[in-house]
């Protein structure tokens, strides 16, 4: 499949989890990507008037190239509308409604013509989530929402002591084996690498093994391969890495198969053929800060490269 499919990220979570704050941040953010953000209600999105290039009914265009569309009609119609833009957006972000199961919204990203599912990010208010999970009316719903996240972002963590956060994280991790990576968010600031497919701007990163960005929460490392890689090795690597590895993206030459796009968000991954001509043969790995696994991965990559050389 050579046609480029636009990555879709779904942002879910119950009312008050911080979805709107995150969306405001993405609209104004310096991520350098042209986002199309589909929201349920314009009213709560707070866009600085100075940033607005034009406002046409259900669509607001920003000076930074991003657009924000209201989901007044169907999600499918909105997707078709933004996919028809020229140039197409770099990425689509869908705000799931507070009572939606984000996994179901994600099906649109997976199966809509022209789209590819990037990630399901579920936000949870660190102060409220335990209480909500016991609520007579929404307990089942919020628990289901947490389970469907590739990444669960605990928001408002600055209001909760660290010991409670550890407990909370353990509770989410025990919910079931498919629950995703838990990241902590303070003061409403979500690292855009969690939400966006931006780790994949491969060319912008440094050389093999070098940590390109020291951050409180995440670190990104680029691993380069000296020659084509066995599919079997790559698949087993993507499968076995833990959910401490938040994102992986890259272009890899596979033995006898040519170049492939590799994506991994938390535990979900894909390998797809690409006609992209770039010469990179590398993976960008974004991990939770201090993940000991990175050195293990570095050693594995080194071994693969030595075997080939």
């Amino acid at each position: 499949m050579s046609e480029r499919r636009v990555p879709v990220t779904v942002i879910g979570g119950y009312l008050g989890a911080g979805k709107t704050t995150l969306i405001n941040q993405l609209l104004a953010g310096r991520h350098g990507r042209r986002l199309a953000i589909l929201v349920n209600d314009f009213g709560s999105v707070n866009i600085d008037a100075g940033l607005i290039a034009s406002h046409d009914g259900e669509t607001i265009s920003l000076e930074n190239g991003c657009i924000c569309c209201s989901l007044a009609d169907s999600l499918g119609d909105a997707l078709d509308a933004v996919l028809a833009l020229d140039p197409a957006p770099d990425q689509i972000v869908i705000e799931a409604s507070g009572v939606a199961d984000p996994a179901k919204v994600a099906y649109y990203g997976q199966g809509w013509p022209g789209c590819r599912l990037d990630a399901v990010v579920v936000l949870a208010d660190a102060e409220m989530i335990r209480g909500l999970s016991d609520d007579q009316f929404v307990g089942e719903l919020v628990t289901r929402q947490l389970r469907s996240g590739d990444v669960v972002a605990l928001t408002k963590t600055d209001l909760v002591p660290d010991s409670s956060l550890d407990e909370l994280e353990a509770w989410i991790n025990t919910m079931d084996e498919t629950s995703g990576t838990v990241v902590r968010v303070a003061h409403g600031l979500v690292d855009h690498r969690v939400v966006l497919d931006s780790a994949g701007d491969v060319a912008n990163f440094g050389s093999t093994g070098e940590s390109v960005d020291a951050h409180e929460l995440f670190e990104s490392v680029v691993f380069e391969f000296s020659s084509a890689v066995e599919r079997e090795w790559l698949e087993s690597a993507l499968e076995s890495w833990s959910d401490q590895i938040v994102r992986v993206k890259g272009i890899i030459a596979l033995v006898d198969e040519g170049r492939h796009l590799v994506h991994r968000v938390a535990k979900r991954w894909s390998i797809e053929p690409t006609s992209d001509n770039c010469h990179a043969n590398s993976l960008v790995v974004v991990a939770l800060s201090g993940a000991t696994e990175l050195s293990q991965i570095a050693a594995d990559v080194k071994r693969v490269n030595l075997l080939k050389d």
Binding site: M1, Y14, L15, G16, N40, D41, G43, S44, D73, S74, L75, G76, D80, S97, G98, V99, K104, V105, Y107, Y108, Q110, G111, W112, P113, G114, C115, D135, Q136, F137, V138, E140, L141, R144
Partner: protein
């Protein structure tokens, strides 16, 4: 309302009997009408003061018939029905449609036979849409079985509860479906030919322009006109106007329904949907709703009644259940986040609007009760007409609270007929399933209630709903929870005066006495003579709408 033209003559309809549904004078022999409204109800003898002083004529067309107040269904969906009515009906129960009687299709063999028959009958280039498949009766249907019926005609077999359909290969070719995307979609099963839930959203990308095309939609609305008349209805409530695009719906309904030969009126409940909004947008929604009556025409009317949604659909098994939940462990859904539900309800309540809430499971009903309890404590209202719509699974104690809060109910009673056995086996277990649509408790608690069809969820035949309510016989012939049956009188009130009350129209319609609209349903027999067992069999001659006769063509 009709403009007064005092010079026009009085017309007196005489009948074998007039059932007024008024306690003061339950039975009469004649109704005098002028300008579409009732002048007096009584006998030719008691009407003498009017007849001696005014020009009049006697119309004895109904000498062998019984005049009742025009039937009212306070909750159906003309626009949804307009999408469905052009399709072929293949459900597990009988349908009497104005253009044909459709027999039940109760097994897989029967369904495949019916589809084959339809395929032989249709024009060569017409796609075949069949609605009514339900695995409980028909088992699983797949693409290959449909390919056997036709390799060239697109076939779509739509689930009874709407959330799934099955297609053949000709369907894929007809609409040039992106098969790669379809294969990637987790809720499209290309091999089985199945599109379900969000997969329907995918399919509508291709199918929408055909199904919702203006010509087809209007043809569907015109069928809906016939259906409403056929059931003997002279007023209906459109219980969620505006869900398919407000202005588009308004334009089509206005063109198709607002005609001199339409023998009924429609009262709209606007869908007050703002699940992801906030207080300011709730306020502008309320302002919008309050202005809508300015658009009213003779037959199409907005009012101060609005519609909200709590939990998911009953046929689709998405109701919110309290302990012990669904038999198979599945979960229900919320159509509005509970926290937003309370905020929206408060905005509507404080604006003095009359709130109707779609609620189907006992946990959904619990949310609505708790919300109403808060609103009554904050800002007490009398005669508020807060209406519980559908009322699928409730607990007896919830009925007492509903009564204490002054609320009323509009109940989907056909659930008992079509679903009580299937839900006992597959969804709820017997105890809860036998007590679906708890009408007897509402009658004992003195709560006013109507029954509705939610058409096309149930046939738009009020006498049939009254029959189910009074007998609680299901499609398997079992009587489900006899203690929840209601009396004959309560059943007849539920499709006349109490249905008018639910719509806030009890001063104009629903019973026969002076000043009310001259809307009648003309029956071959008096339901009070026939008794509860035979209510659904009483032939309907037709209706009188605002003094004009509209026979049902046979």
């Amino acid at each position: 309302m009709t403009i007064d033209r005092p010079s026009s003559a009085i017309k007196v309809f005489t009948a074998r009997r007039v059932r007024t549904m008024e306690h003061s004078q339950p039975i009469a022999e004649a109704v005098a009408v002028r300008d579409g409204r009732i002048v007096e109800v009584g006998t030719l003898e008691t009407m003498r003061p009017w007849l001696d002083n005014h020009p009049h004529e006697i119309d004895d067309t109904f000498a062998d018939h019984v005049i009742m107040p025009g039937f009212i269904d306070p909750h159906l969906h003309p626009s949804m029905a307009a999408v469905l009515l052009p399709m072929e009906f293949t459900t597990a129960t009988d349908w009497s449609l104005p253009w044909e009687d459709v027999g039940a299709v109760a097994s897989r063999v029967e369904l495949l036979e019916r589809l084959t028959e339809l395929n032989d009958r249709l024009e060569a280039d017409e796609p075949l849409f069949a609605w009514g498949h339900h695995p409980i009766w028909h088992g699983e249907i797949d693409r290959l079985q449909l390919n056997d019926i036709s390799g060239t005609r697109p076939i779509v077999v739509w689930h009874r509860g709407y959330h799934l359909f099955i297609v053949n290969d000709a369907f894929y070719a007809w609409l040039d479906v992106d098969m790669d995307a379809a294969r990637r979609h987790p809720q499209v099963d290309v091999e089985r030919g199945a599109f379900f839930e969000t997969g329907l959203g995918f399919a509508m990308r291709y199918l929408g322009p055909f199904l919702l095309g203006s010509e087809r939609f209007r043809a569907g609305l015109d069928r809906m006109r016939q259906v409403i008349h056929h059931g003997g209805q002279t007023t209906i409530g459109d219980a969620a106007f505006g869900m398919y695009g407000f202005e588009r719906e308004w334009e089509h309904l206005n063109d198709v329904m607002e005609r001199p030969d339409t023998p009924f009126r429609i009262q709209f409940m606007v869908a007050a949907m703002n699940p992801e909004g906030h207080e300011a947008s709730d306020r502008s929604m309320v302002e919008h709703i309050l202005q809508l009556p300015e658009r009213n025409t003779h037959r199409l009317r907005f009012s101060d009644h609005v519609k909200m949604f709590a939990d998911g659909g009953f046929f689709a098994e998405l109701m919110q259940l309290g302990f012990p939940g669904h038999l198979d462990g599945r979960h229900g859904e919320w159509m509005t986040p509970p926290a937003r539900f309370e905020e929206i309800a408060r905005s509507l309540w404080n604006a003095g609007l009359k709130i109707h809430v779609h609620c189907t499971g006992d946990n959904g009903i619990e949310l609505v009760l708790q919300t109403l309890e808060k609103l009554q404590a904050e800002r007490p209202r009398f005669d508020h007409r807060f209406t519980f719509e559908h009322f699928g699974i409730s607990r007896p104690q919830q009925v007492d609270r509903l009564a204490a809060l002054g609320a009323i109910a509009s109940v989907q009673v056909y659930y008992v007929y079509e679903l009580s056995r299937a839900f006992a086996d597959h969804t709820l277990g017997y105890e809860r399933s036998s007590q679906i649509s708890r009408l007897g408790s509402l009658e004992r608690a003195g709560v006013r209630f109507a029954v509705h069809s939610d058409y096309t969820m149930a046939p738009a035949r009020p006498l049939n709903n009254a029959w189910v309510a009074a007998n609680r016989i299901n499609e398997s012939g079992e009587v489900m929870c006899p203690n929840e049956r209601i009396s004959l009188d309560a059943a007849m009130r539920a499709i006349t005066i109490n249905a008018a009350y639910v719509l806030g129209l009890e001063n104009e319609i629903g019973s026969l006495s002076w000043g009310k609209m001259a809307d009648f349903t003309i029956l071959d027999a008096d339901p009070y003579d026939v008794g509860v067992e035979g209510l659904n069999e009483i032939p309907i001659w037709g209706t009188v709408f605002e003094g004009e006769k509209f026979a049902i063509e046979t």
